[in-house]
């Protein structure tokens, strides 16, 4: 009884999400999925953490403005950093709105609160090499007038095609580039081109880390032609009301992140490979907290993976052992059960998932169903075999002493068969840890997600961020089973061998 309880508890522990630190609801900070977004998210999270005891959950790198807006609306996140122009255009669908106040009040009607500018703009900019700027005494875009005919420029497709890009620019500044010296290029290649001295002028974002890296000088938009995209915090109104103190902490950051600072931070991340947490901490003048992005990512996947493995394990124990018992007891039913679990095992996982989708939809459910089916065979077969291997002399004696069927099973048969049964569960668990990676194929997450991404991108490091934790989980599971062996295999059997 006690052992069975221990087992069940352990399963439950495996299956349950890990204990959350929060008594109180945590504040959830989101971010977009490029470098600057991560950095700003970390800054917000750490700022709150250092000033408040409310726990902070990071959901960084969630995607684009649209996703983050949905997340804000649904309450999945409380706050994140965005840009005024993007907000106007993507959320409010009012690209005409330019002033902070207009945007703020439009957002307010959507129950969103926007801070003032954080201190830096992110906008299109034109840049030249420092050396080139020195040579031609360039500081503003206007300074280009006169020499632009001889300048070799490389502009991105986006810049060339947008109405507020190249076309407007040449009109606003009355620039006359010579067409054969202006090329359209993939944006990332323009850096290469200017580095190599093939071109003199490129377009970029004003906080781009490459500015520093490639020793570029950004030409001032003295006619304020480019729309200004100012970084701001956007938060749920409910959040600002519930946590006014924490919101104030974020508001205190207004104006605190200068353009050079942001460029520097982006560069640290992109070029120096410093962790976001560390960069944010440096900026805030504090200690870096336990770095989280990759870690919390892995934690999340671990939770999903554990849930998949834990539930299917529970199933294989709760269903597989009884099936094995029935198989050992009744010959015909036994053969049927064993054959059925064998046949299920041969259905390839992709095909099985394909059959399960009509029944279970997508996500966790079909993945769990598949895992449960796959983990049956080892448990059923080993339970069957273990029970059949028990010396019938002991069963006869147990009957002679007046034990009931149940008691014989619980007190004599299962303990004596426990090493074999446990080996079956062990195999099932470890196979399941491996197979659970397939769950990612139907959107159930887990360690399979990076593995599948990595495979489709042919990117080994990404694969490893899934494969290594899975292997570690197998190691841990192995250790847990060693321990379970001590709990569940009777000492009389263990000592003997």
């Amino acid at each position: 009884m006690k052992r069975a309880a221990a087992l069940v508890l352990l399963m439950a522990a495996l299956a349950a999400p890990p204990p959350r630190a929060s008594a109180a609801d945590p504040i959830v900070v989101g971010s977009k999925f490029f470098t600057e977004g991560y950095v700003l998210g970390e800054i917000a999270a750490q700022a709150i953490e250092s000033a408040s005891s409310v726990p902070v959950t990071r959901k960084l790198g969630m995607g684009s403005t649209g996703i983050l807006f949905q997340a804000l609306k649904s309450g999945a996140i409380d706050v994140y950093a965005d840009y005024t122009g993007t907000l106007a255009e993507a959320i409010l669908k009012r690209p005409d709105l330019r002033s902070i106040e207009d945007i703020r009040s439009a957002l307010y009607s959507l129950d969103l609160v926007m801070s003032g500018p954080l201190g830096f703009d992110d906008t299109y900019a034109l840049a030249v090499k420092e050396t080139f700027a020195e040579q031609h005494h360039l500081t503003t875009i206007g300074d280009l007038v006169g020499i632009e005919g001889g300048i070799r420029a490389a502009f991105s497709y986006e810049f060339m095609d947008r109405k507020d890009g190249y076309q407007g620019l040449v009109q606003a500044y009355k620039l006359h580039f010579s067409p054969d010296k202006v090329s359209r290029m993939e944006h990332s290649l323009t850096y290469r081109a200017i580095d190599d001295g093939v071109v003199d002028l490129i377009d970029l974002y004003s906080t781009d880390a490459k500015i520093e890296k490639s020793h570029l000088r950004v030409l001032k938009d003295d006619r304020q032609y480019f729309p200004v995209y100012q970084a701001v915090w956007v938060a749920r109104k409910a959040f600002t009301e519930k946590h006014p103190r924490e919101w104030q902490v974020l508001l205190n950051l207004q104006g605190s992140i200068s353009e050079p600072a942001m460029i520097d931070m982006n560069a640290q991340a992109d070029i120096g490979h410093v962790s976001f947490a560390k960069i944010a901490a440096q900026h805030l003048g504090s200690e870096a907290p336990r770095s989280q992005s990759l870690k919390s990512n892995i934690l999340q996947r671990t939770r999903e993976h554990l849930l998949l493995v834990g539930i299917s394990l529970l199933f294989s124990v709760l269903v597989g052992i009884p099936l094995g018992l029935v198989a050992a007891r009744f010959h015909a039913a036994g053969q049927a059960i064993l054959v059925a679990s064998a046949v299920v095992q041969t259905v390839p996982s992709l095909a099985l998932l394909c059959f399960l989708i009509p029944l279970f939809g997508v996500g966790m459910k079909p993945a769990l169903a598949a895992l449960c089916l796959y983990s049956l065979l080892p448990v059923v077969l080993n339970t069957f075999t273990g029970i059949r291997s028990v010396d019938p002399k002991h069963l006869e004696n147990a009957r002679a002493f007046g034990l009931t069927r149940r008691q014989i099973l619980r007190r004599i048969v299962l303990p004596l068969a426990s090493p074999t049964v446990l080996a079956g569960i062990k195999t099932a668990t470890i196979v399941s840890i491996g197979t659970a990676t397939l769950a990612a194929l139907v959107g159930a997450g887990g360690y399979g997600a990076p593995i599948v991404s990595g495979l489709s991108l042919n990117d080994v490091p990404t694969i490893l961020t899934g494969a290594i934790p899975a292997a570690l989980m197998a190691l841990v599971a192995y250790g847990v089973f060693e321990l379970l062996g001590y709990l569940l295999i009777p000492a009389g059997l263990r000592k003997q061998s």
Binding site: H394, N397, R399, A400, G402, L403, I412, Q496
Partner: protein, 248 residues
């Protein structure tokens, strides 16, 4: 009290017991002796309902075996299997107390009862905390006797319970058991190869040979009115110890 009526049994077509009739009155002790392979153990297993026999009746107080469940039946009987048959995965103490614990006895009561029995079979206390494989043959056998007696059953079936015990312990155990059997009015069926033991403990002796009862009666009857020359032969075969007088 314990009645076996025309029991027949065969294994794989070989007849092992045929037409066995036996009646052990309430409070009496019956010894079952006989050659190796004559079916003594099989008869005990049949009495316990452990094997489905071909023909016949087993009754306690005129109630047939088949009118009980296995558990009810087993609860009436204490059993020492040949070679002890301890469960290998639990300690001696747990072997002895298993049923009591399943029947919900209190811890104290269990401890007291086990201690009482331990003293009876003269076992060192520490040995009960060992697993069967850590005990000597005689120690295992004594634990098996304790287990059989634990629930104080009315009927006891003992299959060579003292074969592995040294003469000293065996003698004292025989004395104790005889006293207990008499005092508590136990009905006992005892298989033994030790004729001295049979004579000392049993009121009646039944001699089995090749699955048939050759003779049933008191030792005196077997000795003085043998039903068959085999009876005399069997009894005389017991090797007696030369006593001091022979050396003097």
């Amino acid at each position: 009290m314990l009645t076996l009526q025309s029991i027949y049994q065969s294994f794989d077509g070989r007849s092992v017991l045929s037409d066995i009739n036996l009646n052990v009155p309430q409070g009496a002790t019956q010894a079952l002796i006989g050659s190796s392979g004559s079916g003594k153990t099989t008869l005990l297993r049949i009495t316990l309902g452990l094997i489905a026999f071909d023909k016949g009746y087993v009754k306690i107080n005129d109630q047939p075996l088949l009118s009980f469940t296995q558990v009810e039946w087993a609860d009436r009987i204490g059993y020492v299997p040949q070679e002890g048959g301890l469960f290998p995965h639990i300690t001696g103490f747990n072997n002895v107390s298993l049923i009591a614990r399943l029947r919900g006895w209190r811890k104290n009561k269990i401890a007291d009862r086990v201690e009482e029995l331990r003293a009876l079979v003269d076992l060192d206390p520490g040995i009960l905390h060992r697993f069967p494989f850590e005990m000597s043959g005689g120690q295992q056998q004594r634990v098996a006797i304790m287990r059989a007696a634990m629930m104080d059953p009315q009927v006891m079936l003992l299959d060579e319970p003292m074969a592995a015990l040294d003469p000293l312990i065996r003698r004292s155990l025989q004395r104790e058991l005889k006293a207990i059997f008499k005092r508590l009015g136990k009905t006992v069926l005892l298989v033994t190869h030790d004729l001295g033991e049979a004579v000392y403990l049993a009121d009646q002796i039944t001699l089995l040979h090749e699955g048939k009862v050759v003779q049933s009666g008191s030792y005196r009857e077997l000795l003085l009115q043998p039903a068959d020359p085999f009876v005399t032969q069997f009894i005389n075969a017991q090797r007696t110890l030369p006593d001091a007088a022979q050396f003097a």
